[in-house]
Each structure stands twice: as structure tokens, then as C-alpha cells.
Amino acid sequence: MVEAAIIVPAILNGLTTGAVYALVAVGLTLIYGVLHIINFAHGALLMVALYGVYFLHALGGVDPYLALPIMIPAMFALGYGLQRFVIGRASHGKDENVMLVTLGLAIVIENLALYLWSSDTRTIDTPYGFSTVDFGVALIAVPKLIAFAGALLLTLALWALMRWTDLGKAIRAVAKERRGAALVGIDIEHLYAMSFGIGIACLGAAACLLLPSYYASPHIGSAFVLIAFTIVVLGGMGSFVGALVGGLIIGVTESVGGLFLGDSLGQLGVFLIFIAVLLFRPTGLFGQKA
């Protein structure tokens, strides 16, 4: 029993959720596009970022949105260091090793979080936490609107960075042809770490946008990461526009699917799309043939 009046709010809600999914997926797709590895530690690192934002707020009184200029560089540095000194070294250049290393990292990070911060759920209360904007057809929570706009802007900024800067060009060159890039003098190790760092920096941003309406707990990453993987496949491995559009499609599918099938089955639509894409367009919506 679904009334038409609640379909529009459900779509709007799906778009706002989808934008944040997209931001998580953008980092994953960048790491895949350049390093050709699937980063299993993505969810665990999102969790670390959420705790970062939480502690900045709880201990330093920093508003989650003002934490953006702190969390983005901090997560970038963490990502850069992880790739340069842990993942890169431990993998000895083999892709299957990289996967195992990131999987191991995820387990270590999650359990470390459990040990250090306990399994207690952490939420923050902000003055705008319960504010809503009335669009006539729907009340949309202010944190969700900010997350939507923030995620769109950051994805666009990242796209611009990849398109127009020397760094972006170098990253794309490495992604396309590793050996050729090395031959023209690009420092491959450094660029790998830069890509990983930028991918993880996206999680820093996502965490700042998420926490006002969500919570931090040691196992929270896994809830997002499965969806993020789906978005990456749907949008096309390595495609930013694909991740953004994929994120929005998944967000809306989940939301509207939840309305018709109940929230337990709402994700059914997400995985039906996933299977359909794999069957009929394995490169994804915006992916290029390998």
C-alpha cells in the first residue's frame, strides 16, 4: 500500500543517500582504475574517518563540516602512507597479494578500533541535526541536503583534478600504460600512493558529510562497502561520472525499492541491477573496454 505522495520524497531521499554512496565509491573506483586492485580496506578506512570526525567533534568541538579541511588531508596522508609503506611493499607487485594485504588491513583496523574505542556506537548532536527544509512535497533533513551538495561538488572537483591538472594527467597515464608512464619519467610508486591517498581522502570527506545524520561504530564500514562495490561495477570500473551516476541510481533504487518491497527487500533491486549490468554490459554504464 504505497501512496503517490510518498514516492517523490522517497526519490529525493534516495538521491541524497546516493550522493554519499557515490563519494565512497569514487575513491574505490579511483584506486581500482589506477592500481587495478580492489581495496577491501575501504570500509574499514571509512570507519576510521568517521571516528576521526567524531573525536574532532567530541574532544575539540570541531563541527563535522568544518572538519573537512582537516579530515581530507589527514586521510590523504594515511592513504598515501599505507600504499607507499605497507600495501606496496607487502604485495611485491602482485595483484593477488594486494588484495590479501588490503583484506588483512581491514581485519586489523576493525579489530584495533574495537579494542581502542570499544563496540560502543558514537553519535554526535549538532544544532542543525534535526532541522529540515520543506520542499512542499517533502521534508528533507539539512544534513542530508548538505551531504548531497557536498558529495556532488567533491566528485566534480575530483573529476576536474583528473582532467585538467598535471597530477591528474599523470595518474591517467599510469592507469592506461604503466610502463610507458615510467618511461617518460613519471614516478610510479609516488603516483600509486597519490592515487590511493586521494581515494582515501574521499572517505575523509564522506565521513564529515555522513556523521551528522549517522553513527560511528567499528563494523560500520561493511554496510557501505558492499554498496560501493556495486556502484563501481554499475558505473564502470575506474569511471568517476559512472560512480556518481551509479551512486544516484543505486540510492534511488534502494529507496523506491524499499517503499514497494519493504526495507528488507529494498536492496533486492540494487543487486538485480548489479546482475543485469554484469550480464548485458559488463564494462558498466561508463566503463571502457579493457
Binding site: N13, Y215, H219
Partner: protein, 414 residues
């Protein structure tokens, strides 16, 4: 195998030395020997304390372990088990990892380690496995929480549950909801049930749906969602469209909080939010973090007798440790105390004697809002559920009247 457990107070070496000396003391000493002289030498009573301290329900497990350990510390500080010459309780801690099979495997290790009894389990699905495993070896087992009634209906002679089960909660909830609604002139005629998809949520929802009609409340919709659920906007939109008088959630903590927050955001204000074993409704953390979203929520849950001094003392002690005083804490505290009383009366570390003592227990030294302690098929027939409400940024008992420290506010003020 004992090295697998995190041991407290007594190391293996000290334990062996203590056993030898204690054995000698028992053999030669007799009852007349002074307690203090023998206390250090009395053999420790090994008690298994098992909780899921990692995995999905680790928060509750960690809270439960803290409660159990406070009881162990209090018992040991007060001179241990007097009938055993002041023997200290030696807690062997185990992690069930939020998995039933891991819990059962830990019981096997407990058996090898020679424990006299086991306390804990927390989640029903863990308790179902651990109590069966303990029964195989005749180990007395005190269930701390595990509300599933199958735990005490399996005919296990070793299993004892001091707190109430599912059936009692649903029966109490329906009866008290009717009392509250009738007293207010029956403003609640419709309800929406929101529940998580596992045994706990689905089971509670089914029982409620079956019984609410009997008290004149029509269930408009039952909304199921997975755990974890990242977003409650859809559910709240559907609640808004259904416009019920009551919203009845059966969720774990995180989802309960997200639901209440989203309802506040979307300005959905039913006459009451009423839950049974509500994940967050009876948690001081929720009340402290989101006082507005929590205000006036009613819940039928485990609780302590607010008029008992000992309950308040334990609350202060718990909060001094930086923990919230949740039901896991005081139920585990009381479960260990119940066991200690039985060991005291059994005057033995023998498993069968402790089971006998538990079977015949009439322990009255607790601070729960219960009737007289009496075990029937392992269930304490005196165990009761109470109705709580978040009032003045605190959690108050509103029913039954003999334990209440506030009057129900229903319907909630606009």
C-alpha cells in the same frame, strides 16, 4: 587449555599452589579453623564468564562482562565463599564472538578447565547453544539475559534463568499498554509495528500483532527492515502516510536510535512510541545523546527496582568506570550473585551440588523488581518485566505501581 582464557585474580601457578594448600586445609582444618587464616589458601572456585565481546552484539557482551566482573570483585572483596573457607571466585573469561558455535566451543574448553559453573551468553541464539553444551557435561549454567523461552523449555537440568523471558515481556507489555490506554480514555486505536528481520524483531512483532487486536488496537502495517539499516526515511514516510496512534519498534540499539531521530526530523509525532525490549528506549546513552528524540518513549524491559539502595550503588560504580548502567550490567551482576549464593549453600564446588542448590534457590538478596525467587524448569517464576518511560531526561519505572517512581505520561504532550 586454560591459557586460552583471560584469567583474573588467580594465575594457573597460584591456582595450583592454592589448590594444594587448600586441599590440605580442608583435609586437616575442619570448620573451626578461622576464616581469615585460611582465606588465602582456600581453593578458588572456577566460574566461566562467557559473553560475545566481539562481533555484532559486542557492545552488549562487553557491558555484560563488566557487570559480571563487578559482582565477582564484590564477592571476593567481601571474603569470598564463606562455606568454602573464604574461597575466591576465579573468573575465566571467554568470548563467544557473537556466534553460537564459538560459544559452544568455549564451553568445551571450560569443561577441560574444570569450571564449577558458567554465567552469561547474552544473546538468545548463543544461550541456546551454550546451555546445551554445558548440559552435556553437567555444568550449572546461569543465563544472564537470553529472552528466548526455548532456552528454559529444552528440559535441561543445568540451566537457570533469573530474568524473565519473551512470553512474560509480551504479556506484560500488552496488559500494561491496555492499562495505560484505558486510564487515558483509550486515545490509541491504531498502531504500526517496525521491526528488524532476525528472530528477536520478527518474533516480537508476530506476538504483538497477534495480541494487540485483543485490547482494541488495530495494527495498520508491519514494517520489516534489515540490521544494519542505513536509512529510515522510507519507513518514516510510510508511518507518516499510515498516521497511527502508536509506533511500536522492535529493534536493536542503532536502528532504534536512527528511527527515533528520523521520526523527529520528519515531524512524525504519534501519541506514543511504545516498545517491547526496545533497543534504545531503556538506555541512558540514548537519553543523554538525544533527549528530545527519546522524550516520553515507553518501553517494557528488564529493569532494577529503583527503590533499592544496592541498585543505585551499582549504578554509581558502573558510571565511575565510564560505562552506562544498562540492563546487561545489572542482570549479569545479579546472575553472578545468584550463583554465588547457590555455591555458598552447596558448600561445594561440585557441579551436581551447585545445580541442586540453584534448583532450590529462594535467593532474596537481589535488587530486581521481582517476586520471590523460585525455579521451575530452570525459569525463575518470580521474574517480572516492568514498564519504563523517558521522563525529565531520565528513565523512570511507570508500572507496576509497587516499583514505580513516576506516573505514565500518555498521550505524549504535543
Amino acid at each position: 587449555m586454560t591459557s586460552k582464557f583471560d584469567r583474573l585474580s588467580v594465575t594457573r601457578r597460584r591456582f595450583l599452589a592454592g589448590s594444594a594448600l587448600g586441599g590440605l586445609a580442608v583435609a586437616t582444618g575442619g570448620i573451626a579453623a578461622p576464616h581469615i587464616a585460611r582465606a588465602a589458601d582456600a581453593p578458588a572456585v572456577k566460574v566461566g564468564i562467557i559473553h560475545p565481546v566481539t562481533g555484532g552484539v559486542s557492545y552488549s557482551g562487553t557491558q555484560g562482562r563488566a557487570g559480571a566482573m563487578m559482582a565477582v570483585d564484590d564477592i571476593n572483596a567481601a571474603g569470598g565463599i564463606k562455606s568454602l573457607g573464604g574461597a575466591k571466585l576465579d573468573a575465566l573469561l571467554a568470548d563467544a564472538q557473537s556466534k553460537a558455535d564459538v560459544g559452544a566451543a568455549q564451553i568445551e574448553k571450560y569443561n577441560d578447565a574444570g569450571v564449577s559453573a558458567v554465567v552469561g551468553g547474552y544473546a538468545s541464539f548463543i544461550c541456546l547453544a551454550t546451555t546445551q553444551a554445558a548440559a552435556k557435561h553437567g555444568i550449572p549454567y546461569v543465563v544472564d539475559v537470553g529472552t528466548d523461552d526455548r532456552i528454559v523449555k529444552a528440559g535441561l537440568k543445568n540451566t537457570f534463568r533469573f530474568s524473565p523471558g519473551y512470553g512474560v515481556f509480551v504479556e506484560t507489555a500488552i496488559r500494561t499498554l491496555n492499562e495505560i490506554n484505558t486510564a487515558a480514555g483509550k486515545p490509541a486505536k491504531t498502531a504500526v509495528i517496525v521491526h528488524e528481520g532476525s528472530a528477536f524483531g520478527a518474533g516480537t512483532a508476530a506476538l504483538l500483532q497477534k495480541n494487540l487486536g485483543g485490547i482494541g488496537i488495530n495494527v495498520l502495517e508491519v514494517m520489516k527492515h534489515p540490521t544494519p539499516n542505513l536509512d529510515f526515511n522510507n519507513i518514516v514516510l510510510r508511518i507518516k502516510a499510515a498516521n497511527p496512534d502508536l509506533v511500536i519498534p522492535a529493534d536493536y540499539y542503532n536502528e532504534y536510535v536512527l528511527l527515533a531521530r528520523t521520526m523527529q526530523q520528519q515531524k512524525v509525532k504519534p501519541k506514543a512510541i511504545f516498545s517491547v525490549l526496545g533497543g534504545a528506549a531503556s538506555q541512558y546513552k540514548f537519553v543523554k545523546d538525544f533527549p528530545e528524540a527519546a522524550a516520553y518513549i515507553m518501553d517494557c524491559n528488564h529493569w532494577y527496582n529503583p527503590h533499592k539502595e544496592a541498585a543505585q550503588v551499582l549504578r554509581k560504580k558502573t558510571e565511575a568506570k565510564g560505562l552506562y548502567y544498562t540492563y546487561e550490567v545489572f542482570l549479569n551482576y545479579e546472575a553472578v550473585m545468584l550463583l554465588a549464593d547457590a555455591i555458598e549453600r552447596a558448600a561445594s564446588t561440585d557441579r551436581a551440588k551447585i545445580i541442586d542448590a540453584l534448583t532450590n534457590s529462594s535467593w532474596a538478596g537481589h535488587f530486581m523488581p521481582y517476586g520471590p525467587t523460585r525455579f521451575e524448569n530452570g525459569q525463575n517464576t518470580g521474574a517480572r518485566a516492568v514498564n519504563l518511560q523517558v521522563l525529565d531526561n531520565d528513565i523512570k519505572v511507570i508500572l507496576p505501581p509497587e516499583f514505580a517512581n513516576a506516573k505514565p505520561v500518555f498521550p505524549r504532550p504535543v
